[in-house]
Assembly symmetry: C2
Homo-oligomer: 404 residues x 2
Amino acid sequence: MFNFKIHKELPNGLGRVGTISTPHGDIETPTFVVVGTKGTVKSLTPEQIKEAGAQIVLANTYHLYLEPGDEMVKKMGGLHKMMNWNGPIMTDSGGFQTFSLGVAYKYGISKFIAASVPPIEMVEEAYDKLRQNKKAKVTEDGVEFQSIIDGSKHFLSPEKSVEIQHNLGADIIFAFDECTSPHAGYEYLKQSMERTHRWAKRSLDCHSRILENMRMAGPAIFGIVQGGRDESLRKESARYISSLSFDGFGIGGSFEKEDMEKAVGWVNKILPKEKPRHLLGIGEPSDLFMAVEKGCDLFDCVSPTRIARNGGIYTKDGQINVTNKKYREDLQPLDPGCKCYTCQNFSRSYITHLFRTKEILAYTLSSIHNIYFITNIVSRMRETILSGNFENYKKEFLGRYYKN
Amino acid sequence: MFNFKIHKELPNGLGRVGTISTPHGDIETPTFVVVGTKGTVKSLTPEQIKEAGAQIVLANTYHLYLEPGDEMVKKMGGLHKMMNWNGPIMTDSGGFQTFSLGVAYKYGISKFIAASVPPIEMVEEAYDKLRQNKKAKVTEDGVEFQSIIDGSKHFLSPEKSVEIQHNLGADIIFAFDECTSPHAGYEYLKQSMERTHRWAKRSLDCHSRILENMRMAGPAIFGIVQGGRDESLRKESARYISSLSFDGFGIGGSFEKEDMEKAVGWVNKILPKEKPRHLLGIGEPSDLFMAVEKGCDLFDCVSPTRIARNGGIYTKDGQINVTNKKYREDLQPLDPGCKCYTCQNFSRSYITHLFRTKEILAYTLSSIHNIYFITNIVSRMRETILSGNFENYKKEFLGRYYKN
């Protein structure tokens, strides 16, 4: 059932337009994958998700394993039935939580190195220290997690992650990996990457065993390339992961923001062209243009909905915060000219009122707009690759969006 | 533009089926009016409100006056345009806040006397004491309110309330009144009622002056009958208010729960048959059957949406709380057999999961169901009055709903 076709490529680059076929329908790529961590895209019904332009939703293994439990999701008929989302679904493997609940937990460390990050020496000793007393501890066998709900202990191994994902019933699942911190030094990166490779093989073996016992077509599985910001490790990882019989690939881990383009380039020149590539956790407009140009087909990020719930709104002229006093009397839509449901029907003034009075509809309307905005720019990238105008569209969009 | 037609009456009672025509469409009565206090029915889009069966929405003068301000709502093109709700809208007058922010403030006093109410002597002295240091102080001229947002002081008079409501732009507005506490003694009830009568006249006069200066057809205005639980006062109030040229009537104030039926009967036997009657703040299913039977055409209440946000779900077999552990594995819809969007598409198990993980979609899905449930039983009452089966339907519904 799973299949990827490339329709057109960028003349000077790795970018391409394609279609991924899944048991729950086609995904026209490149496209932005909307995040529904706990089996719901926060504040939206499935109809609203779809109307906002989402083709595919990503749910989270770790969170759904804890609540309501993967066995319970299976009893409910799987994620599609549970959420009443009939389009394609992917689940991540829980590997990102080895980072977010591990070294990053309560340190506010982003997967990007940024000015706001606490200054931590990038040496193994400091990094090891940071790993103590965290909610996730990594061993060769897997990761011991402490529940963020009740503190109870849980163990995720590659096999456990794949079994959970089969219970959840997504169309595309991911191998279990360790997402490393941007602060990790070379030695840790190398050890971690090698372990992630062993986990990739174990994930794939477990997946194959389960598929053999299934009657129906099972999900596709993507392997994850790691290696941090190190060129030799990234390339080694891309070579090893692509040597395994995965249906597609994720590019995971952390980058120095400026180096992400280089790292994606190193990896995508090695990954086999004929399989889809998902750049994990990326949602900033400039990054999306870069990623598409460098040959990524899928991207996911909580940003569009998370910033929406805080009043952060994407517009063609850059991001605004609609809770700002100056929008109280602004009768324009969130982004003038936008064709989304929210912009067609409501004013900045009303949405500011909803935020100021903490009305739930504020979150719904803003999330709809931001998802529409992001999925729409990616689908415009698709159109302009097909029509040969990608460069112009990129220049025009980025010039306006980042003008101020 | 405003018009009320009666199509059929109950053979042994005051109940009737009618149609109210407004500038924003017809209202088939009896019907339940959905509450959207701050210009939004909490957690729902206008399309969801409509799909759930609501014909008309009620917004709140006091809250909208404070935020975003009635002048601002007017700049936004009025409530209909602001909310993007094209059906009929009514606004209450702020009179209920003379009670909720007055004597009831922080005492948890309901408009109904119930076992849970703190035992307060029902004598004028105790009542007067209770009125000190409250957020609303009543004088002959009007009510001084303290803002619940920033503590600033505001004054609502009958004239001010009517002007605000004209700015808000509803189809039906209410005269300014004082909603008294069920704990008020006869003397206070009488004084307050007489003042409410003077305020009714002032509201109507102000409304007429504004209409004379308008080019377009203005809103209809309903007068409010008060008088608490006292038979002579209720009857006096019904006689006086119906002597003024209001377009319809509200029945306000507080009741002893068991006496509400009697009180509604006293009033509706006096109010002119040819004008619509709105029983303010009523939403419990048994009360709705009573009110329809006793000749009320409209009712509003925050209950269906408020209890929904706490997991309280109406079912044909009574109210349940879906956050209860026993529903975690329950694959049935909230109310088996229900035709609402939520019940057609989601299970109790999923909705329990959404509540347990504090997901916003829980509130949306539960609110849709409860609004559907309540509007639907009232429209079934309408159908069964027309078909001559009201008594059977009432017996069947109440027998099952209150069985446990």
